[in-house]
Symmetry: C2
């Protein structure tokens, strides 16, 4: 399950609780489109904003509605005790894998991060994907640390935050990491604007927020017949990538797109996070139409 | 209570639960030393790592052991719903004030942060201190935003992350912020190495981790007879400030100092956070002796 397109949906809220109907609909939509796996409770799924009970429920819902497509569940939390409990809950919910970022408030040291993965992987009976996302965790993995963690039992993939834009540099970056990890551990790219570049550079997987929103569009890139075609299809979305960059990431744009498409019943992010309004929202609606995303 | 020395203790853990005996001891020690207020469940108190029940219990313990010294309780959380619940709990525990940082996983916008303070202050019956700590929250307040938030009801103080090292620049920085906020709102400096410089520059309060660990040493600086004396006493601690900088902040150094002094029964931080060991620990022990901190 750690290759191809892994689609990461939002966990939509309604009146500050999980909108179970909308969530089931989103997950079924991804399964129907034929994504290779579903990443529930990723960053876009707002995992750290939800209570343990909400996260357990979302995991159950994702598995129930995935129609057999393997589901990976985010188990990140500031405290190791909570991560271990969340790993238990994810396994009980029937997850096929877990995704773990070294979430921080006080910035973590490399020894602390290694200690976290060491403790968690020893308590797992399903595979784990290492989630490298310095933008939200403020922890920067060295390749050497990735190499050490990738030797731990149950580690099956590394979700990297992107690759250099230039093709040769991207290939070289993926090869450098690959040389330090076991052959059984895959590398998946994230940051959707890096998706085509990452797969062209040799990443086996694309962990994709766009895939959780517009699965057909994303599958077309992920399964393009050639590197050139993948690049062309991704470059076609340049105005969308630019819009995301202007809003500091995918989250608010994705939530707003779901509102525009009527896939959620209204603002669906946990406060204080807000979706886009006014001209920003209008611009996104126009872009969805122009780029024929929906 | 928003002037003078506010001491911020650790919330010590033992076997992953609050060490209530040690925590009571730490708080009584600060009250006995004569600090002006106690900041329980600040960043050093590891508030975001604790469950709601643990935070309510720590708030009750802090108030119970503070011997009448006013206690401010940190209520920060990623989700507004949780912040509002924590504000309730703090008030029920008998807190004199609350401290709120715009904690983030997805970086917040200025509108989102204003919305958070707007909602929380409308639901409060005790004063609030705005906690500006870009190092842990990754949110940078503009002075303009500070000015808008300081107009909200119940806002009583702003905890700023530091001042420029140079005296004239520090005075200018504090004056620039002061010009934008009501006269009733005080400014408190944090980052202990900035403590003397901040108070010399016109900050009314020093929100201090050192004060939560070595209250007498810190009170001597906070109540020095002259600016020059405050600077001299702070500069005497330069090797300690340097040690903190090398360990990325006060937290691990403070926890280790408590271990060395026997004020906690062993490692007291929530995993995966770790205290210092080996040569780092030995160096700290020597420094505590050399600088006559205990």
């Amino acid at each position: 399950m750690f290759s191809g397109l892994s689609a990461f949906p939002i966990t939509p809220l309604k009146q500050d609780s999980i909108d179970e109907a909308a969530y089931g609909r989103l997950v079924r939509r991804l399964a129907a489109a034929g994504v290779d796996s579903i990443g529930a409770l990723g960053s876009t799924g707002c995992y750290p904003y939800l209570s343990r009970a909400e996260r357990a429920r979302a995991a159950q819902l994702a598995v129930a509605h995935a129609d057999g497509v393997p589901v990976m569940i985010g188990i990140g939390a500031l405290r190791m005790r909570d991560v271990l409990e969340l790993a238990e809950d994810a396994q009980k919910a029937g997850a096929s894998a877990v995704l773990l970022a070294p979430v921080s408030y006080h910035a973590l040291t490399s020894d602390e991060v290694y200690g976290l993965y060491d403790a968690v992987t020893r308590n797992l009976s399903i595979p784990l994907c290492v989630y490298d996302n310095p933008g939200t965790t403020r922890f920067t993995f060295s390749d050497e640390l990735h190499g050490r963690i990738a030797q731990l039992p149950n580690v099956a993939s590394i979700k990297i935050p992107g690759v250099p834009a230039e093709a040769a540099a991207a290939t070289e970056r993926v090869a450098r990491l690959r040389a330090l990890i076991p052959a059984s551990v895959t590398i998946g790219v994230s940051g959707d604007w890096f998706g085509a570049a990452g797969m062209n550079a040799g990443c086996e997987a694309w962990y994709s927020v766009l895939g959780g929103l517009f699965p057909e569009t994303t599958l077309a890139i992920a399964r393009a017949a050639s590197k050139e075609e993948a690049t062309r299809l991704s470059e076609r979305l340049r105005p969308y990538w630019d819009l995301i960059a202007r809003h500091g990431g995918s989250l608010r744009v994705t939530a707003t797109a779901l509102e525009i498409l009527g896939l959620v019943s209204g603002p669906c992010l946990p406060a204080p996070l807000q979706s886009l309004t006014g001209v920003d929202r209008d611009e996104l609606a126009k872009l969805i139409a122009t780029l024929e995303l929906a």
